[in-house]
Symmetry: C2
Subunit: 218 residues, 2 copies
Amino acid sequence: MTSRPRPKQSRKLPEQRRAEILRTAARIGLEEGLERITLRRVADALGVRPGLISHYFPVADHLLSEAFAFAATTERGSLLPSDEEELPPVERLARFLVRLTDGDYRDLSRLWLNARHLSRFKDTLREAVGAQESQTRAELVALVGKGVRAGEFTTDDEVRAALHILITVDGLGAYANDDAPQEGPDYGDAAIETAEARLGLAPGTLRARALPARTAAG
Amino acid sequence: MTSRPRPKQSRKLPEQRRAEILRTAARIGLEEGLERITLRRVADALGVRPGLISHYFPVADHLLSEAFAFAATTERGSLLPSDEEELPPVERLARFLVRLTDGDYRDLSRLWLNARHLSRFKDTLREAVGAQESQTRAELVALVGKGVRAGEFTTDDEVRAALHILITVDGLGAYANDDAPQEGPDYGDAAIETAEARLGLAPGTLRARALPARTAAG
DNA sequence: TAAGTTGTTGGCCATGTGCCCAATAAAGGC
DNA sequence: GCCTTTATTGGGCACATGGCCAACAACTTA
């Protein structure tokens, strides 16, 4: 009856193991919070010993910041995918904002809230947050600029318009941990409306353009 | 040589001691972060033993949430004082937003960021955050409504306008822990501009009205 | 002045954290 | 085949946290 369910040690290639650790830590940070990314928690999730995590990330804070960067990058890619289809900027922006508003991105908002607060105490995380913010800003500024040049958006200041949209997104994200209020109006569409106002779009445009127009072909 | 610098015990009235603890905890939370509100940290600041803090707050999380509520209420009072002078709503709103933008309220933004994140894990804090949010919203909605009735503001939806201003404020607050960027534009006036746009005020009105008009009187 | 109430202390325990180090075992080079 | 490298383990240390509890002492009351 000597069942040998698993070998005592399963040795893996360093890069593979490191990536595995990073992926797991990112998931934990996203789902349970960045402060739950501990050596023991990550090790448990992978079925290894805590010392192994230390072996790949001698400084625990580095694992934390790298895991945040990984999670943020992945989620941003899901929210604002690369423009391979050459979609019209309105449509890309519409999908971005409508997904963020309606979709299941509460974990992402929580992650950003988490990271922005925790970066108060952890320097490397603060750098990672800054880098991710720069990246997001750059992508949105580029998108707005493209839309302006395409004649789809109208604004006197592309950068400020993009920043204003992001400020609204981050403002809504601040409430990600709130209990759902039984009374009182929510204003979940604030980012969408801000975008329409700042980019010279008619109210309702973004929601209408969020889904591919299949009415004719359907 | 028997110097008796301090009595071993300085017994205080319960309410007085409790208020002292709360005030100290609020200051620590505001300056150092809510997670620094520990039994030992508060006890050290007061020169007493940790057990005494437990005596007044048997559940440490209750001290945390009460300290946050205390700090948030105090700071809100400083930022948006009660309307004893019967100031015009434009002026009250102007002072509120300009103080928040220019003044030394970074600690306050950090506190809110801190509380909103930490409320993910701590139920009583989440309730306190919700209550403080309701209070702030109610006061701003009232202010906007007063301004509309006074003919100073123009909006089709007072509540949404107020909420939009707060969302912008909270969005800017999300960056409270960021390093000051050497390059790139900041958009610190976003809340002021949002308010002017949503309330039908000419750009620049709020900054102009923030200070008492002393030009005539010299 | 004596007794009682309770604010306050000192100490301990269980838990969780990052980090360090020697021992072990799996993989690759010769 | 052996030998070297290193991925992985197991154990431990120092520190911080919240909470519990008995003893002490300041103040009130009789």
